[in-house]
């Protein structure tokens, strides 16, 4: 049967038309039934819908977990968002389920059932709304009877709305359910560790310092003042080949890991923070290794050319003295600078190659053929040695494209010269000089990155030490709580009465903590006075200038250890040692020495002839050295 709408059927609105009351009452009953259905739905399924919304909210750790870098306070916010989404969804389900009005016929039959009638109202509705004009006394009688029944009928009585037996209790239960759901949804495993082992003030200060340095590291490579203008112009001249993206990536990864470690510390995840700090150290080690390799490659090349040029320059000086030429004097200038250690190996390589190129293009005037041939033979020998050295470097795994290109250029130059093609050899040597400049640029970029990473590593080492101390302190606290105290040995000179009553081991750790706190206070004080770069200066070796700084090192530590940065490591080992046994692993302490080693090797304190021996020694004691290439 078609639905009946009195408003759409003008003939039904006429008072003379039979069945108006029936249609009107049925329309009212339809709305009443919809309200009843809504109420019934609310009573019957409201709890389920609320439970569904609460379940979604409580499942927040699974459906919308927090990333390790996100703050824990985001958990309750997400739970509330999920709660709102769940409630809106359940509301939409509720509206969709109860939106439609029941049909007029179904409503009429419902009224029949409610009144105990057998289809009288339904039949009367049908008769009243049928479009055929067949008139029947029984139809009108049916309508009349239905009208009489429905007139003044209290719909609220015959179609009552279902109500909850305990509305207040229901509302209270719902609110409680929502609160519990939000609480459960806000839970994150990090809360447990954060509440059990909250970060100490020292750790928090070190984390802040680490983040600050990481931010500075992010900005430093773009700082125009950090790059020498002359070097920039030189780099631009050799703009072919790869840039320092590898270096920047390494620095960026280290910076992110440092930030991640800070985030993990904020979440109380000390183990995770230690892992990240260890990864920072590994990144620094890798950057240092790469820088050393590049430096070594350039030095080998320079050495090959230097030895050649040295002999040549001596002979050239003598020949120049004889011939009055100036070529030998120019050739001897670079080796002298290289001997003094004041120039960079790439500059030596470029200078040597430039002189050789010039010599090939413009042979010395006045020299006889025999002398010229001897000179060409000697140049060929130098080139072959340099090509061999570069080739050996390029053949090693991990060699860069610039190294391989430099080796190829030198090979081409040697081959061309062996064939007597001086111009081709000169061109190849010029190209090799460009590759050497490129290698130098990469080395400098890696050096800058290592510099920044060393600063990061400085803070990371302090933070790592503080974390380990805190963990050790907590373990000893747990032991004391468990009644497994030591044999009553008196503690060291502690500051507080609690420390005074602790064991010797815990006293040692306490003193280490105090030392760390004093160290941190020194940092903070210095930072409050000077600029950021000045503050970083005492703890990070200046690789460009080849000088180490001891501004923040104490006098006693300087007396004790002649290696500047080693002071802190010795302090750490002393602080961490309990009962004569160090608790800090050598692997963890060594990175602090690493920068010092490089500093020392750059200085004139170590004789150049012994530098390789010293370097090999430190390489051999480097943790994991047997695995590194």
């Amino acid at each position: 049967m078609e639905p009946v709408h009195a408003a759409k059927r003008p003939e039904l609105t006429s008072a003379k038309r039979p069945g108006v009351t029936v249609v009107t009452v049925v329309e009212q009953a339809r709305r009443r039934l919809r309200a009843q259905r809504r109420a019934s739905f609310r009573v019957r399924h409201g709890a389920r819908l609320f439970l569904a919304a609460a379940t979604i909210t409580a499942l927040r750790p699974l459906v919308w977990p927090l990333a390790t870098h996100q703050p824990l306070s985001l958990g309750p916010v997400r739970s509330l968002i999920l709660l709102v989404i769940g409630l809106v969804t359940t509301g939409l389900v509720f509206v969709a389920a109860t939106r439609r009005l029941p049909s007029a016929l179904a409503t009429a039959r419902r009224l029949d059932i409610a009144l105990g009638l057998d289809d009288i109202i339904a039949s009367a509705l049908s008769f009243a709304t049928q479009r055929d004009n067949r008139s029947s006394g029984f139809r009108e009688l049916t309508i009349q009877r239905a009208t009489n029944t429905l007139r003044g009928l209290p719909l609220e009585t015959i179609l009552p709305r279902p109500t909850s037996p305990h509305p207040r209790r229901t509302i209270a239960s719902s609110v409680l359910l929502m609160l519990v759901a939000v609480l459960v949804g806000s839970f994150d495993p990090a809360w447990v560790s954060l509440l059990q082992r909250p970060p100490t003030p020292e750790e928090q200060a070190l984390v802040a310092a680490l983040v600050r340095v990481a931010e500075e590291a992010n900005e430093a490579p773009n700082d125009p003042e950090t790059i020498d203008e002359e070097e920039r112009a030189r780099e631009d001249a050799y703009s072919s080949g790869g840039s320092g993206s590898e270096t920047e990536d390494a620095l960026e990864i280290a910076r992110r890991r440092a930030n991640h470690a800070a985030d993990l510390m904020a979440r109380g995840n000390r183990e995770g923070a230690l892992r990240e700090l260890s990864a920072v150290r590994s990144g620094d080690r890798e950057a240092s290794r790469r820088e050393r390799e590049l430096d070594s490659a350039l030095r080998d090349l320079a050495r090959a050319l230097q030895r050649a040029e040295h002999g040549t320059s001596e002979r050239g000086s003598r020949a120049g003295a004889r011939q009055g030429g100036e070529q030998g004097g120019e050739a001897g200038r670079a080796p002298r600078r290289a001997r003094r250690g004041k120039t960079r190996p790439a500059s030596d390589v470029r200078e040597s190659l430039r002189l050789l190129t010039k010599r090939l293009r413009e042979p010395a005037r006045g020299s006889d053929t025999e002398t010229a041939e001897a000179e060409q033979r000697r140049t060929l020998e130098r080139l072959q040695r340099a090509a061999q050295a570069a080739g050996e470097r390029a053949a090693r795994p991990g060699a860069t494209e610039a190294e391989r290109a430099a080796a190829q250029s030198l090979n081409r130059a040697a081959e061309a010269l062996s064939r007597g093609e001086r111009d081709a050899a000169a061109d190849a040597m010029a190209e090799a000089a460009q590759r050497a400049a490129e290698l130098e640029r990469q080395r400098r970029a890696m050096s800058r990155a290592a510099e920044q990473m060393a600063r990061l590593l400085e803070r990371a080492g302090l933070l790592e030490r503080a974390v380990r101390l805190a963990m050790l302190n907590r373990e000893s606290q747990s032991e004391r709580d468990a009644g497994r105290e030591g044999d009553g040995r008196s503690g060291t000179a502690g500051a507080s009465s609690e420390r005074a009553s602790s064991t010797a081991a815990s006293g040692a750790r306490s003193s280490a903590l105090a030392s760390l706190a004093a160290r941190l206070a020194g940092f903070e004080q210095a930072e409050s006075v000077g600029t950021a770069s000045q503050l970083a200066e005492p703890h990070v070796p200046d690789r460009r200038n080849g000088r180490g700084s001891t501004a923040s090192a104490t006098r006693s530590s300087r007396d004790r250890v002649d290696v500047h940065e080693g002071t802190r490591a010795v302090q750490a080992i002393e602080g961490l040692g309990v009962d004569g046994e160090p608790t800090q692993a050598y692997r963890d302490v060594f990175p602090t020495y690493d920068a010092v080693i490089e500093d020392a090797l750059e200085n004139d304190h170590v004789p150049p002839a012994r530098r390789d021996v010293v370097r090999r020694y430190f390489e051999s004691i480097r943790p994991g050295a047997e695995r590194s290439p």
Binding site: D119, S123, F138, T142
Partner: protein
């Protein structure tokens, strides 16, 4: 009313004594309501309501009269009354002694109409039921053929053990039931109105019987099954005299016919008609059914529903009426196959299940506007 005596048929008619007790139609005449209310004339609502009330009272009087004689078969009596008002015929199935003949006799008394009983036997011929032409001597000495009416010319006919007659005789009666006329020697003779046949079947002695074909069964409006009365009913029967006094007549055949006309006027709403149609269609979906009910079943359902609405004084039919008469109306119109019988499913069980399955409203209506 003249007494009927047709040999060799065991025919009974209401006695003169019973006539005296009954309402004489000549004396009482047709009810003023029927006289004053032509069938096709517009009547006022009060007039219609008065007619309906009168018809309801008549139906109730018939039922009360039947119940005063027949104990423990109220549902059957209600259905018999329904069939009577709907103008259909009833097939009664039951063991001997359950009151089948008594129902018809009581009914004839209540209606003050003619009553005849035919005991169907295998040697019963159609002419024994319909009548035949006999050679008679005229007063002038000549002879002529004169038609002599059979027992079928009555208001109420009890066809006892109808399945014992040959199909030829059965079909002769069933044709008269359907057409309400008898054609003998090329002459069509109408049967008296109302014409109500109540046939019986004995389900116990099934040897040597001729079961009624399904097409013939369809002529019966209802098939009622008489059940063995319970202890209380049997006790009441035992406490009563062997031959109960028959009740007085409560109406006349003319009034009954008028009441049947009122029942036919009762309207049905579309959703009620739809339910009846869906119910009949659903009989074809019964698992293991050999065949379902045909279109005549819908007519039968609606006729019975109208009569039932009249009996309760309602001016329209309802789905409840359909449901109330569905089983006796559809019982003999649905045949189950061997599988269903093997599973022990009876037609009544299948129809009861069907009434639970078929929704009252059409699905699209049930889904809302």
């Amino acid at each position: 009313m003249s007494k009927e005596a047709v040999d060799p048929i065991d025919t009974e008619a209401t006695s003169a004594t019973e006539h005296e007790r009954s309402v004489d139609p000549d004396e009482s005449g047709p009810h003023p309501l029927y006289e004053a209310a032509p069938r096709h004339r517009e009547r006022s609502k009060e007039d219609v309501e008065a007619r309906l009330t009168r018809a309801q009272e008549l139906a109730n009087a018939i039922q009360v009269g039947l119940r005063s004689v027949i104990f423990g078969q109220d549902e059957t009596l209600e259905h018999v009354t329904t069939c009577l008002l709907a103008g259909g015929h009833v097939l009664l199935e039951g063991a001997p002694g359950l009151g089948k003949t008594q129902i018809v006799r009581t009914l004839s008394t209540l209606l003050s109409g003619r009553f005849a009983r035919v005991q169907f036997t295998p040697d019963l011929m159609p002419s024994d039921v319909l009548g035949t032409s006999l050679v008679v001597s005229l007063p002038n000495g000549s002879k002529d053929l004169q038609y002599r009416e059979g027992p079928v010319f009555t208001n109420l006919l009890l066809a006892d053990e109808i399945n014992r007659a040959t199909p030829k005789t059965q079909s002769a009666l069933l044709e008269a039931m359907g057409e309400r006329t008898v054609s003998v020697d090329g002459v069509s003779r109408p049967l008296p109105r109302p014409f109500f046949v109540l046939a019986t079947e004995n389900p116990i002695e099934m040897e040597g019987v001729f079961p009624l074909p399904e097409a013939q069964l369809d002529r019966f409006l209802m098939k009622l099954v008489l059940k063995m009365p319970d202890l209380a009913t049997l006790t009441a029967i035992a406490a009563r005299a062997e031959e109960p006094d028959l009740p007085c007549a409560v109406t006349t055949p003319h009034d009954l016919e008028a009441t049947q006309a009122i029942a036919r006027e009762i309207p049905s709403a579309p959703h009620v008609l739809s339910f009846a149609a869906r119910l009949v269609l659903a009989t074809h979906q019964i698992e293991g059914a050999r065949y379902g009910a045909g279109p005549r079943a819908v007519q039968a359902l609606m006729s019975c529903a109208r009569a039932r609405a009249l009996m309760v004084g309602r001016a329209c039919t309802s789905i409840a009426d359909i449901k109330a008469v569905a089983v006796p109306v559809l019982r003999h119109r649905v045949a189950l196959g061997f599988e269903a019988e093997a599973m022990g499913v009876s037609v009544e069980q299948a129809l009861a299940g069907l009434l639970q399955v078929v929704p009252d409203a059409e699905p699209k209506n049930a889904s809302g506007s």
